[in-house]
Symmetry: C2
């Protein structure tokens, strides 16, 4: 029986389509929305539409932004000769939070994945190559430490090397605060291989 009524059911259904939100959470959210001030619901509703309609890829680095060129690419305080290549805008955000990286980024918007049928032409590699024709000292590859990320890193390093530009890969090893006991073997071996002299 339709004990909620169609309007509530519709909202629950739409919310449950979002990632990480199951039927129970969708119900909880829907009931929360019904009790929210009407203005707040309008603001949320508009923020959804605005973000979807006005956000696109930065012309320079392909990150998601609501401007033509993103604030990082426009900043004169950043070192535009160092480009860190990441898979997503969220990865960019993770490095920005450290506050220690002063170069710029290139966001691939994905990674090469033969299994998912994602090839080099499906990610923002062409745009990266175009940028490398300018003045660039180093390309730091910071794709994920996964099969796809590693494949992408290898592919990019092969593309960049002939240009003579330095290519590097972020280190792989035991996370800070990580207990050796709970770290998987592959990571332990990576950490051993990547050891640095003290």
């Amino acid at each position: 029986m339709d004990y909620y009524g169609s309007q509530i059911n519709k909202l629950i259904e739409k919310l449950a389509m979002l990632p990480g939100i199951g039927q129970k959470s969708a119900q909880r959210l829907a009931f929360h929305v019904i009790h929210m001030p009407e203005d707040s619901v309008k603001e949320l509703s508009e923020a959804l539409i605005d973000a979807r309609q006005n956000v696109h890829y930065c012309k320079e680095c392909c990150t998601l932004t609501d401007q033509d060129v993103c604030p990082i690419c426009r900043s004169e305080a950043r070192d535009h000769r160092t480009i860190m290549v990441v898979e997503t805008t969220r990865d960019l955000a993770a490095y920005e939070k450290t506050g220690k990286y002063n170069g710029v980024y290139h966001v691939l918007q994905g990674a090469i994945s033969p299994i998912l049928g994602i090839g080099p032409a499906d990610i923002r590699l062409k745009e990266l190559l175009t940028r490398l024709q300018g003045d660039v000292d180093e390309v730091i590859i910071a794709t994920n430490n996964s099969l796809e990320g590693e494949t992408t890193a290898m592919y990019i390093s092969k593309l960049v090397k002939p240009t003579g530009i330095k290519v590097s890969r972020i280190a792989s090893g035991v996370p800070v605060g990580g207990d050796l006991e709970y770290v998987d073997e592959v990571t332990l071996l990576r950490a051993l291989e990547g050891r640095t002299e003290l």
Copy 2:
């Protein structure tokens, strides 16, 4: 630095205000929304507004509904002489899912909580008393098994008893499939007190 751009930040901020959605989930949801088909975003956005604007309390049982009187209260197949009192529409939904309860409901939209300053006048008790002036055989109290729920149950039973209508409380005990080992002592004692002869 504002590396996301204001439109994305605004959406993240609005999403993070929802219950159970932290900063990280809000980010993930926002990026999902940006990649959703524009029509789906519009539908979600409209569902939010529609639910907020058109959902109100059923004139009979005070559940949330988008009609004047909810489908359960309108149904002739239900036994209108048995009223189950619950705290929220979600509790009603939980009992409806069992498919075995054929009476109607009364949704208090809360519970008495001296700590939170919620008194008997703040929940839908007046509406329940009005209903009891009609033909009612039994009031089944199914408020939560919490301090607030128990307080509310006691309060209601004292109100209903003088009317001569039968009042009952749903059983409290070990959940089905529950391992005694992991059940708290209060529940174990409740289960013992409430034992039934075989």
